[in-house]
């Protein structure tokens, strides 16, 4: 079992998530873009999904979301649900391309982050909060999406490393030597 844990993606994801959480709570909490806090942990969850597919993205989003809830004091699971969905949506990229271009990954990371950010107040509604919608919700989602898209060239490789995903080893037919 210990070997399974060591081999699992959690052994890398948890410490990386802690560092990202620390960055979220320090520098990214300070740097607001038009009054909106950039969600770098959410972007990492989406990037993991874009790198590894829906299943791995869901696991990464769930893990990062629970960590976020633990450290933020929000109800445990509320952020995890939103981040899980973010990873799932970003992982839909695997349905389109097996080895996507960086800009395609960036688009899906942005999409995943948008879904995750939009789901946060929805989950809060389900747990009984009154009016959890932040003012100017559209602006918040838009800025979080753009920020995640911009950060994706950094976060997708990081997510790939966390999930122990190796690059594709097959070669295109054009590269094969002629018989």
């Amino acid at each position: 079992m210990l070997a399974a844990i060591v081999r699992s993606s959690l052994i890398r994801l948890v410490p990386v998530g802690m560092v990202m959480l620390a960055l979220q709570r320090t520098v990214f909490a300070e740097i607001e873009v038009s009054g909106v806090i950039v969600q770098v942990v959410l972007a990492l969850a989406a990037a993991a999904g874009a790198a590894g597919g829906s299943e791995r993205g869901a696991m990464a989003g769930f893990t990062l979301g629970v960590m976020f809830d633990l450290v933020e004091g929000t109800p445990i699971g509320s952020t995890a649900i939103a981040f899980t969905l973010a990873g799932v949506v970003a992982g839909l990229l695997a349905l389109i391309a097996a080895d996507p271009q960086w800009w395609l990954s960036a688009i899906f990371v942005g999409l995943g982050a948008a879904v995750g950010e939009a789901m946060l107040p929805v989950v809060r509604i389900f747990i009984g909060e009154e009016d959890p919608w932040p003012p100017q919700m559209v602006k918040v989602v838009a800025i979080v999406t753009v920020a995640a898209t911009v950060l994706s060239p950094l976060l997708v490789p990081l997510g790939r490393w966390c999930l122990r995903i190796r690059g594709p080893e097959w070669k295109a037919p054009a590269d094969l030597p002629s018989v």
């Binding site: 620390a22 299943e55 979301g65 960590m67 995890a80």
Partner: protein, 424 residues
């Protein structure tokens, strides 16, 4: 759909259900989850400190770039504000002291008797929904969940989670925050308190001009008496000074009576032990040299004692606010936050003109009923907008907070627990 298989879908659904289960457990309160949360916060603490140190130059650079103009404008505005407030600070401090003395005299609870714990804000909100900041004091310093948090300006929030060395503070702008408040009706725009102009008067109610006139009249009357007495004396005894040999005038008054004595007889000076009139705020005792009364066309007679020294009289200058003290009507309601950038609102109000008329500018304080987590009389803010609602819903008030929640640094946690909780 080969990649998006049924098995993978099961994993995703399982994770979502697990999150929902955790959510349910946490909302119902679970000691295990609380322990895990506390442990994870401890584990995160050194990582956060390291990240803070490493990224500090980035934060400073961003702030320098982003906030320089705002800081300059704010600095200028604050200087103006400081100049204005210096003038009112002394009077306010005296009023607060008087207020606390009165509370102590009547055995009423006051904020001064409640201990506080100083803390510093070490973390801000990290998402775009919650209005929660983190402070660097926790249960080790006596902080418990629910305690009110204030800064120099007023109420800023309450403790929602207390760990050993850190605590989470939910700001008053958070949509989940609500607290009972009282609105001091009559302190707003049309308040008569704003029109008060304190005038220095004596206890008799005479102004300085009136006192000068009294002195003038007294001197004139005394001179007239002296002239008449002189005429009588010249007629009777041939003595023009009008004095008898035993040192008394004809009507039996002391011969060395001065205008000051006349003045003193006319003014009802306060005696030790006298209670001040209603509305008297600040009595100040000053010793002044009696100004010489000037009679038009004549030289001013010297006001001296028999030894030739100038006479000093003690007058009491009293600031009278109003003979009828202003009766402030209170209305109670519930203040609730509405998110970042939105003003908190007060609901559940009744606007009955015969009791209290709520208006823009009214002061808002915590009401502190017996089960409230916050003690009474913590200043919160001022009413800035009023919206009337149809029917019996009552008006809706928007509050401009005294505290600037965007720039929190040092705060105080009011170590107050209501009796209902302290007894547990």
């Amino acid at each position: 759909m080969a990649i998006y298989t049924v098995g993978r879908r099961r994993v995703i659904v399982g994770l979502l259900l697990t999150a929902a289960l955790l959510l349910t457990l946490d909302l119902r309160g679970n000691a295990v989850l609380d322990t895990v949360r506390d442990g994870f916060s401890r584990a995160m603490s050194p990582v956060e400190r390291a990240a803070d140190v490493v990224t500090n130059p980035v934060q400073r650079g961003w702030n320098s770039y982003n906030n320089y103009d705002d800081l300059e404008r704010e600095n200028q505005a604050l200087r103006d504000q400081l100049d204005r407030q210096r003038g009112t600070q002394a009077a306010a401090e005296a009023s607060i002291i008087d207020y606390n003395l009165l509370l102590a005299l009547n055995n009423l609870p006051s904020l001064t008797g409640i201990p506080t714990a100083k803390a510093q804000v070490v973390g801000g909100a990290t998402n775009n929904i919650d209005q929660i900041v983190e402070i660097n004091k926790g249960t080790n310093d006596g902080i418990r969940q629910g305690m009110a948090v204030v800064n120099q300006a007023g109420l800023i929030g309450k403790i929602t989670q207390a760990n050993a060395t850190t605590s989470k503070v939910m700001l008053v702008t958070d949509p989940r925050y609500s607290i009972a408040v009282e609105i001091l009706a009559g302190t707003g725009e049309t308040s008569s308190l704003d029109d008060l102009e304190t005038s220095n008067t004596t206890p008799s109610g005479n102004t300085e001009e009136e006192i000068d006139q009294i002195i003038l009249d007294a001197v004139e009357s005394d001179n007239d008496d002296a002239v008449e007495d002189g005429a009588d004396a010249e007629t009777d005894d041939g003595d023009i000074d009008g004095e008898t040999n035993d040192g008394e005038t004809d009507d039996g008054e002391p011969a060395d009576e001065t205008p000051a004595d006349v003045f003193a007889n006319d003014i009802d000076l306060p005696q030790a032990g006298d209670l001040p009139d209603p509305g008297v705020v600040t009595p100040e005792t000053t010793t002044t040299t009696l100004p010489p009364a000037v009679i038009p066309g004549e030289d001013a007679p010297p006001v001296t004692d028999p030894d030739g020294n100038p006479i000093e009289t003690t007058t009491t200058t009293t600031t009278i606010v109003d003979l009828e003290p202003e009766q402030l009507e209170k209305e109670f309601g519930e203040m609730q936050g509405r998110g970042a950038g939105q003003l908190p609102q007060i609901r559940f109000l009744q606007d009955i003109p015969s009791l209290a008329v709520l208006e823009v500018g009214d002061l808002v304080e915590t009401a502190g009923p017996s089960e409230s987590l916050a003690p009474p009389n913590i200043p919160v803010g001022r009413v800035i907008n009023r919206a009337d609602r149809p029917g019996v819903a009552g008006p809706l008030l928007e509050i401009e907070l005294y505290a600037d929640l965007d720039k929190l640094n040092f705060v105080r946690v009011v170590l107050f627990r209501p009796l209902s909780e302290a007894g547990e």
